[in-house]
Amino acid sequence: MHKRIDEPTGTQTVGHEWDGIEELDTPMPRWWLWTLYLTIIFAIGYVIAYPAIPMLNRGSEGMLGWTSRGGLAAETREANARHAAMLRQIADTPIEQLPGKPELMQAAVAGGRAAFRVNCVQCHGAGAAGVPGLYPNLNDDDWLWGGNLREIEQTITHGIRQPGDGQTRTSLMPSFGRDGMLTPGQIQDVVSHVRTLSGKEKASAASARGAAIYADNCAACHGPAGQGGRQFGAPDLTDAIWLYGGSRDAITATLTNAHAGVMPAWANRLDAVTIRMLAAYVHSLGGGEDFTAAPAAPASDAPEAKADVRP
């Protein structure tokens, strides 16, 4: 270590020397030191004011009592307060009049989208496309229990086949095969007939035999022409949409064991406004029906029907 004053600069060297190369010990500017002290003072204040020091079970709390969770809660409260007026309006507007108020409808669809992500995607999927064989697709124009806003709201509120809810959507297709109501041969005949209804098969001797069995056993719910019956949640057999599959095997399985899908009654878990917004969102997915267009709607649902209520 040989510290010396460097001739040209007048600055002292640090004393190291590597192959003749030395380093000047140029002093730092003093304001830099003050800046460092200021940051230290700031840091001490920060540590006192905010949660900072980790300890055994939990960290220090900070004098301001701030927490990130509390910050989130405050922001949520603020957002809720901001939305409160809109939510009240949506709640106070009869659902038939909702489509006539575009800004309310838009808000309802947006709110419904958020609620759907939390409550519905587990079964119906993030894109509301359902799962073939399990949960119906909500984007299409085929509705088991009705596709206008009021019917959707009713379905969400009371659920499907929910014991304990007096107004729940309910029906039960018999297990024709398992319970021995039809023989396997008869079931194959009915399958042939059902497939002719949607043009999947050409009429044959089997389908003619099946037509007779259909008229006796199935037409009560699915209708004589197979157009379905929404008061029973009986699907339309003439269209291209098959929740449980439209192949011979799939229809055979359905006739043998029947299906009875369930959905929770959301009135127990969500408030009325959220359910209304969910209905608006599901309705907006591209297949929602107008109040007049709903075929086979129960009589009580039709009083205020309007022509083309979509804006």
Binding site: P27, P29, W31, W32, G125, D140, D142, D239, G246, G286
Partner: protein, 486 residues
Amino acid sequence: MSAPEPAGTASFYEKRKSVFPRAIDGRFRRIKWFWMGVTLAIYYVTPWLRWDRGPYAPDQAVLVDLAHRRFYMFGIEIWPHEFYFVAGLLIMAGIGLFIVTSAVGRAWCGYSCPQTVWTDLFQHVDRLIDGDRNAQMRLQAAPWGPAKIARRLLKWYVYLSISLMTGGAWIYYFADAPTLHHQFWTGTAAPVAYITVAVLTATTFVLGSILREQVCIYMCPWPRIQTAMLDENSLIVTYKDWRGEPRGSVKAGKSAAAPLGDCVDCNQCVAVCPTGIDIREGPQIGCITCALCIDACDSVMAQVGREPRLIDYVTLQGAEQEKAGGARQNVLRTILRPRMLVYFGVWCAIGLMLLFALGTRRHIDISVAKDRNPAFMVLSDGSVRNAYTVKLRNMESRPRTMEIGILGLDRAVMWSDDMPRSAAARTLRRAVAADQAAPVRIYVKAPAGTSAQAFSFTVRSLDAEGAGKAGRDEHRTRFDVPGDGE
């Protein structure tokens, strides 16, 4: 902290040595005066210039409209998705600095850098209130008394006023200047305006009145970068030691044994230097090449009747040449050299590309995001529906009606979510507000049996421009159908 350091040991920290540059007049000082006026005028006047863009757009010539994501510069309006224009301008500015640096050294530092301009301004304030260099030094050393306190308070008041005007002018670039000016002084402007002004006032005050040359020497990365870009053909402020040394006063020169050089060791070059360095020690990081020492030295040389330009803009190569007794280098030739031409060529090429892009860009745009979940939807009649979020952009400052069409997918029809399905057609019309983007949710339905294929959405404005290319755009996307399995 202010205790004197014991002699012989180096201190870890060094107190700032105050710089009190003496006033000087001369060629470069006048250039600096002129340029200071130009740069300050650009800064203060620009937001107040008006530019008529019709009733639907702001009439401020230069406006960074952060709230609406628009950037206006005279006849040019930039949307966020056209930010590459701004990126191109920044690249041009960067290469422009390369050009300037390799031609005339740190001219940016010496003349145009805001830190230099504002420091210069603050030093003029010092001289105006405290007097010139010697008076300032006396006042600095004087004990605190009523007179010193009064002068200091007056000076800080002026500093603060300049800082406030500096910080205050900045916000006018981000909103309509006259409106914001009125709002600001009536207390109705947005909090962010006051916060911005407060922060910029504080930084201007600290950087301009306290830190000054410390910014250039310790904080700014640019001197280091420039040092790497200088070469032997870059003009730098040079003390011609071969002419000046050995230095000595005129009196000493008469009695000296050997003849002395031209430098009379009057220290005027040090006295006028705004960063407080001695240029006679050679090129150094503290030299911002403001050339005030050239003015100072020239005036002294004129007084003692010697050749001017003992300190001068000289390149390293020129210095070698003159040292060896050669002629003064031709400045024009140092500027017109291959490296400069390459820089200039690149700079021009980027500029031309930007101009070309600007001239050929369309003021209508369609972009399509296809729904992927679900990718397709079978309807009850067996037909297939795909959903798209289509965004129409009207980049004209007037409302326009646009027609959306389908190119390909011959049997398909479409409808949007705000119209009845029964009105589905091959074209849709939408009114798009002036200078706005309009999102439309579109469903496209094709009959059963359609194969998966690519197709395009087209848009055409229903005005004179729609007939030509400038009023049309299209976006290619896909139509998906279910696979074979049931």
